[in-house]
């Protein structure tokens, strides 16, 4: 407040102007996002899960997920004590779900960051640089795009071994090509825009062009694409866990599902162990997908006709 009053309106710096414009864009984006009911529903679901994950220690005692201090018996039915019954070690399934949200979201988000960084870098470079360097990067992207990701992930996970870090790494390095292609095509079209032409004429260096002009313009697209990648990363974690390639020492929805499957959920009739983690995966994947689609509409006006 005081800062604003001491600065004369006329003398607003370029930086402040940029910030203000950006804030304005964000505000408009949010206003537009709010038009998407599905996106809002997705956001709502996601917020609930994120809050649950962050507040896990408050919602469920950490001793609930310790095998030696598990309070219940083996596969107890849902009751007033254990709302969702217990698992095969006597741990309350509800507590496991709450703590598992942390690992599942962590895997999804971290793997996506890796995928996003690789994808954005490769995409920017291959789009910006003409000549053999860019062409090669583009080819590499295409090569990776056609490699079926699960066989590759299986091979990588076998070679690297089973740990949370490796799972994140494997998902991250198998899911970037789609992002890279998207960023490349965006970069290609932005490169042709007049203001970039002007910047070049004015002597802007490559890093300035990429950092100041291209990157800020492709970022919204990256962001929208990213939310879709998180959904895939979370699904991949459950699949790898099912194949026995997950980190078995962490409680995630994927390892819970795998455990319920190996105990024999259908035979033992323990639906409370098999259904809830699956439903949580569906809800979170769905929420990321919905948000991603809504964001795409916001950042890509061409797609608006779709809704």
């Amino acid at each position: 407040m005081s800062a604003a009053s001491t600065t004369p309106r006329a003398a607003v710096s370029a930086r402040q102007l940029a910030w203000r414009r950006r804030r304005e864009t964000l505000r408009r984006g949010w206003a537009e996002f709010r038009q998407h009911r599905a996106g809002l529903v997705g956001l709502g679901i996601l917020v609930v899960f994120v809050v649950v994950a962050l507040a896990a220690p408050l919602l469920a005692s950490s001793t609930d997920i310790s095998v030696t201090r598990a309070p219940g018996g083996v596969l107890e039915h849902p009751s007033s004590t254990y709302w969702l019954g217990t698992d095969d070690s006597g741990r309350p399934v509800l507590s496991l779900l709450i703590w598992g949200a942390r690992i599942s979201l962590l895997v999804g988000l971290t793997a996506t960051v890796i995928s996003m960084v690789i994808g954005t870098l490769v995409g920017l470079m291959s789009g910006y640089f003409e000549g053999w360097g860019g062409a090669l990067l583009f080819r590499v992207t295409e090569w990776f795009l056609v490699i079926p990701f699960l066989p590759l992930a299986i091979v990588l996970a076998t070679v690297l071994g089973r740990s949370l870090f490796n799972i994140i790494l494997v998902i991250g390095i198998t899911s970037w090509p789609a992002t890279a292609l998207l960023i490349r095509s965006q970069t290609l079209s932005i490169k042709e825009r007049p203001y970039l032409e002007r910047a070049r004429v004015l002597g802007a260096g490559r890093s300035h062009q990429i950092g100041r002009h291209i990157l800020p313009n492709v970022m919204p697209m990256v962001f929208a694409n990213t939310t879709l990648t998180v959904a895939i990363a979370i699904l991949t974690e459950t699949t790898l866990s099912f194949l026995g390639l997950g980190d078995p020492t962490r409680v995630s929805w994927g390892t819970m599902l795998d455990q319920a499957y190996s105990v024999g959920a259908i035979t033992t009739g323990s639906w409370w162990f098999f259904m809830p983690p699956g439903i949580c995966v569906i809800l979170v994947v769905l929420s990321f997908t919905l948000i991603g689609q809504a964001l795409e509409d916001v950042v890509n006006p061409r797609l608006k006709a779709r809704r």
Binding site: D88, G90, T249, G264
Partner: protein, 611 residues
């Protein structure tokens, strides 16, 4: 969407109706078994997975059989066997009424051929070679007599558990060809066996294997027409198939699944005793067997028997049985399972491990592993212990659970640890290279514990030993019991050895495991467990149930006791393995037993633990 799905189902309905096997049209009696693992080879010189052993037993005969009640040697192809006083000459008398499936007679020549092939080394010796170590010559002196001349006595005899293959077929398959010879129907040369069943279709690694009865089997024709093995990669569908009657037998279930099936009508579900144990094993100091220098990166604290033994008080076996074995199985203590009660030593009173973290802590304090200021225990010279790596087998949920429990209890003692899981192939590699701290695995123990005892000797370092345990006092006792002539004295020595291993704790024996099996009582009758009572129904030593089972309608014709009597009569008529067998012996015999134990343990633990 629901409409679309409904449409799909409707479209497929005729297929459903037509596709269902028309039960009425089938007049053949087919016994269908659900397996959870593939056969890895129908060539008896190549396979190592449990289902492969079962298939060979259906196709071929063996010199010696095993009794149903306690797995003692019984006549097979050999009607009797004799050993010279010095134990260096064994004479087997072979039946003269056995024919191969192509009509050729089975003679002593086939037996000698099979055994000589193994004796000659090469790929044939990989699985079976150790049984014949120390054998000089194997000759068929006449069509019904095979004579083994030994360099030194072999405690494993008369047990020769290799299938006997036909010379007139296998002589054309040389040592090089045998490495990839599939021995499957449709291949060349044709599959020729003498066993109670003949393979009709199937391929190693495939998902279905079909056998038909041999009506001319010398022990009498089986009472069923066909056996079909189907591989299910998931247990729930396998059990659903059993409930629906798509299969008649389900193998390798966990205790929770057995429990659920016990409420089902027309299904008998059991947790059969598996004579073996599971253990938490420590790296007690890996060395290069050539130079004697330490190898690997095992944590130094685990070299201290006091440290290891103290940890025995930090394992709540009752809880492990309840949560990791779902109530089936018994808490473990020594390396001889309770099934062999006469050999077993049981720690009593103060000696026995109880779950007592205070006592464990106190013992660690006394040994110098005191608590540091950070709440973590240190080595006697004040250095941090570091993080112990606990390796679970990726194929086994039980393995992972046991180590997860152990890790939490270690944490309460102020010792850091981290659980990981790796494939058994990789685990074997890290064990042999010494790059481990602690792992979980199991052993199958033979009726004579000699083999199991041998794994803990110094001579097995870098070989079958997986804890790198070496104790001269133990080794001396091992040699002594191996040449002991007095049974009672040998029992005492064996018990003493168990006590030494218990005190030094290279292993913390966690459980005596079981195998879950279930079958349809409305389809088949006359099934006998082995050992009887308390044992398992298939994957036995021998093929008793395949041969004796009958359709449920013929339940009143079971051979039951008659079969037992017959068997015991036959045993009396032969010269059983007297005490002479136990006399002498030697490293050869040790290795031989070790080999079968190793193979069995591996096949048990690869197949037996997958839930």
């Amino acid at each position: 969407m629901a409409a679309a799905a409904g449409l799909l189902l409707a479209a497929l309905a005729p297929a459903v109706a037509l596709g269902q096997p028309a039960g009425a049209a089938e007049d053949k009696v087919v016994f269908t078994v659900g397996l959870d693992n593939e056969v890895d080879s129908f060539n008896p010189f190549l396979g190592i997975e449990a289902p492969s052993f079962e298939m060979w037993a259906l196709e071929y005969d063996y010199l010696i059989g095993y009794s149903m009640s306690d797995m003692q040697p019984e006549p097979g192809l050999a009607t009797k066997w004799e050993t010279s006083d010095d134990g260096l000459t064994w004479t087997f008398t072979i039946r003269d009424d056995v024919t191969w499936s192509d009509g050729e007679p089975l003679t002593a020549d086939d037996v000698a051929f099979t055994l000589n092939r193994i004796l000659d080394g090469g790929p044939e010796a990989a699985t079976w070679g150790s049984y014949l170590k120390g054998t000089k010559t194997i000759t068929a002196t006449d069509p019904t007599t095979v004579v083994l001349e030994l360099k030194q006595p072999n405690a494993v005899l008369p047990l020769l558990p290799m299938p006997i293959v036909p010379e007139h077929i296998w002589k054309d398959i040389d040592e090089k060809a045998v490495k990839t010879f599939a021995n499957e129907p449709g291949g060349s040369p044709a599959v020729v066996g003498s066993g109670p069943f003949r393979m009709v279709s199937g391929t190693a690694g495939g998902s279905e294997y079909r056998f038909e009865a041999n009506p001319d089997y010398w022990k009498g024709a089986p009472h069923i027409d066909e056996i079909v093995f189907k591989v299910y990669k998931a247990k729930d569908p396998m059990i659903a198939a059993l409930k629906k009657g798509e299969i008649d037998f389900a193998e390798n279930l966990n205790a929770l699944q057995v429990q659920a099936l016990q409420n089902e009508p027309n299904i008998e579900a059991i947790n059969g005793d598996s004579p073996g144990f599971d253990e938490i094993a420590f790296n007690t100091g890996a060395i290069d067997t050539g130079t004697g220098k330490p190898i690997g990166d095992g944590n130094a604290v685990l070299k201290d028997p006091k440290f290891r033994h103290a940890l025995g008080y930090a394992v709540n076996l009752d809880e492990i049985i309840e949560k990791a074995y779902y109530g089936a199985g018994k808490p473990g203590d020594t390396i001889v399972p309770p099934a062999y009660a006469n050999w077993k030593w049981t720690p009593e009173g103060d000696q026995a491990f109880t779950f007592d973290l205070d006592k464990a802590g106190q013992l660690l304090d006394e040994a110098g592993y005191t608590m540091g200021s950070d709440g973590k225990r240190t080595t006697p010279d004040g250095k941090p212990i570091g993080t112990l790596r606990l390796m679970a087998r990726a194929d086994s949920e039980t393995s992972l659970k046991v180590l997860t429990f152990f890790s939490e209890w270690l944490g309460e003692l102020g010792i850091d640890s981290k659980v990981s899981s790796i494939e058994e192939g990789k685990l074997t590699d890290v064990i042999l290279s010494g790059d481990f701290d602690i792992f979980e695995w199991g052993w199958y123990v033979e009726p004579d514990p000699d083999s199991m005892l041998s794994y803990m000797t110094c001579g097995q370092l870098g070989n079958w030993s997986d804890s790198w345990y070496c104790n001269k006092e133990y080794d001396a006792l091992y040699d002594q019991q191996h040449s002991e002539t007095d049974d009672a004295a040998r029992v005492e020595e064996v018990k003493q050895m168990q006590q030494i291993v218990f005190d030094d704790s290279p292993y913390l024996v966690t459980a005596y495991n079981t195998v879950g099996e279930a079958f349809r009582t409305d389809r088949f009758a006359c099934m006998r467990p082995q050992p009887d009572p308390g044992g398992i129904y298939i994957f036995q030593y021998g093929v008793y149930n395949y041969l004796h089972m009958r359709p449920a309608a013929e339940a009143d014709q079971c051979e039951g006791e008659a079969g037992v009597t017959q068997a015991s009569d036959a045993t009396e008529s032969s010269s059983g393995p007297g005490t002479g067998v136990l006399v002498g012996g030697g490293i050869a015999a040790v290795a031989a037993l070790a080999a079968i134990g190793f193979v069995m343990a591996r096949r048990r633990s690869t197949a037996g633990d997958r839930e």
